[in-house]
């Protein structure tokens, strides 16, 4: 079991009061807090090893290069990438998805092709594909959900077909918490000849990731949802794709020869990393991965599952509250959306904030999903390894007073 006391003590942000109450941070799907180990790793880098990596032959530049590449190695191991050549640092998951859409999408997708995404995709895995479809005369098609907020595999098989050039899908929805049966869908899509782009932004902090087992052609995630700094993200791509793709951002670091009129490009992964990279972000991400590895997935998953189970039970007891998402623990992660009859999520958020509780209100960057579900917005709580059942009790207590504040009898 997780030693939750120790863990919490490692996160300085968790110790603070908000509006006079101890912070109850339940917005981890938006961004996570940073443990001391990551804070220190970044600080240590800045105080002792900071330099511009690559092209440097002095001590600090060499150190920065080594630390950047060491972080890349950690990421590769963390997601079980066969090689560090296949790990590209970006600024966030969004840039990584845009890189794939611009570089792979615009060069490979043809008029008449179809791009398939799930209706619950985050805007970052949706708008770039809309654009590619628009520019290339391709069609953007959607996988819709069942009443249980699941993908209907039989219906999916009608949508994904030999016309499907790209399937882009998140392992876990940030708006519903559903974990989709990705491996099956990927398999099916591959059999139809599609290239598969997997958005791991939400799954990476909660489930062990194995890009080879997933058989992802591309896989993306963000550091800041994984206890690492903002400003660092990852694109994993199979070398067989990356090597033939045109570069995306152009500039320093990513070139080989530059003449006045022509340029040849550097090797993988540098071909896709233009400009000075965020070394301290990468170092922080490496430290966050170390932190997670030390705790171990087994304990993390067990703890988060028990929180999710408890929260589902407790929230179900709140009057007028409706959970928007699967109630099947096997099919979901620690992200729970809900509505409270008659109460707008934004008001709920303001009210529970007075009790120190951070939860999110809105469309969760998934407007087409909200439209599909005919909901303007939902409230969302999302747990991380440092949350506790006591915090869920505080949440439930606070939620049960919301309707009162908004003038309802009960």
């Amino acid at each position: 079991m997780l030693d939750i006391e120790t863990i919490r003590s490692e996160f300085p942000a968790l110790g603070q009061n908000v509006n006079g109450k101890p912070l109850v941070y339940l917005d981890n799907a938006a961004t996570t807090q940073m443990p001391v180990g990551v804070l220190e790793a970044v600080r240590n880098y800045k105080e002792r090893f900071n330099g511009n990596p690559h092209r440097g032959s002095h001590y600090l530049s060499v150190k920065a290069t080594m630390l950047l590449e060491e972080a890349r190695t950690k990421v590769a191991k963390f997601i079980n990438s066969p090689s560090t050549k296949e790990v590209v640092f970006t600024k966030n998951a969004t840039e990584a998805l845009n890189l794939v859409a611009y570089s792979y999408g615009l060069s490979s997708i043809q008029s008449g092709d179809e791009i398939v995404i799930c209706i619950s995709e985050h805007h970052s895995n949706l708008v770039p594909w809309q654009r590619v479809a628009g520019l290339k005369g391709a069609t953007l098609r959607y996988l819709y959900l069942t009443e249980e907020y699941e993908i209907d595999l039989e219906r999916a098989k009608q949508i994904i077909n030999e016309k499907t050039a790209v399937l882009a899908i998140a392992v876990m929805s940030n708006a519903l918490g559903t974990i989709y049966p990705i491996e099956k869908i990927v398999d099916y899509a591959h059999n139809q000849g599609a290239v598969v782009v997997i958005d791991g932004a939400q799954s990476v902090p909660h489930l062990k990731t194995d890009v080879q087992k997933l058989n992802a052609d591309f896989f993306v995630f963000s550091g800041h949802k994984l206890f690492a700094p903002m400003g660092i993200g990852v694109l994993y791509g199979k070398e067989s794709f990356l090597k033939d793709m045109p570069p995306f951002l152009m500039g320093g670091e990513m070139v080989e020869y530059v003449t006045e009129q022509e340029t040849s490009f550097n090797e993988l992964p540098h071909k896709f990393e233009a400009g000075t990279p965020n070394v301290e972000g990468a170092v922080g991400l490496g430290a966050a991965i170390d932190y997670l590895s030390e705790i171990g997935w087994e304990k993390i998953t067990e703890h988060e599952k028990s929180l999710t189970k408890y929260a589902l039970e407790k929230l179900s007891e709140v009057q007028y509250l409706k959970i928007i998402g699967s109630k099947n623990l096997e099919k979901r992660g620690p992200v729970i959306s809900f509505t409270l009859e008659g109460c707008h999520p934004h008001d709920i958020s303001t009210i529970v904030d007075m009790d120190g509780i951070a939860l999110r209100a809105g469309h969760h960057c998934a407007q087409p999903l909200m439209n599909y579900l005919q909901l303007p917005s939902t409230s969302r709580v999302s747990f991380s390894l440092y949350n506790t059942k006591e915090e869920i009790d505080i949440l439930v207590e606070s939620l049960s007073k919301v309707r009162g504040w908004l003038g309802y009898e009960s």
């Binding site: 934004h346 008001d347 303001t350 007075m354 809105g362 917005s377 908004l406 003038g407």
Partner: protein, 146 residues
Amino acid sequence: MSLSSLYTELILEHSRNCENKRNLECATCTKRGYNPSCGDDITIELMMEEGKVIDAAFSGDGCAISQASTSMMIDLIKGRTSEEVQKLVQIFLGMIKKEIEKEEDLDLLEEAIAFQNISNMPARVKCAVLAWHTLIQAIEELNPQS
């Protein structure tokens, strides 16, 4: 800012006001306002005649603050000229930014003065001003010269 000074009876009442939340059959001007950051989405309809607001209504979704603010605004502008409306919107927006000094100016806002201290709750400012921004855009589109 405490919850009880935010969710006052007056604001809650207006937030559920069904009288102003309806469709105007004979609207002469319709404008949609949206707050991409929180999802408030309202449409304001005006029936103007000879430069005056004869009737006004709204539809759409939003939190209690945006709904109440919209409803109060609609009560306030009925019967006013475009110029009066513009002035009222300026006063309201100025009040939110704490730029209005004169009591008598604030008094012109009638019930909408309820949002005087919303800037102490920065997350909700956008909710309170959405309708007013939308209204001013609508009026500007009607009178492009002004």
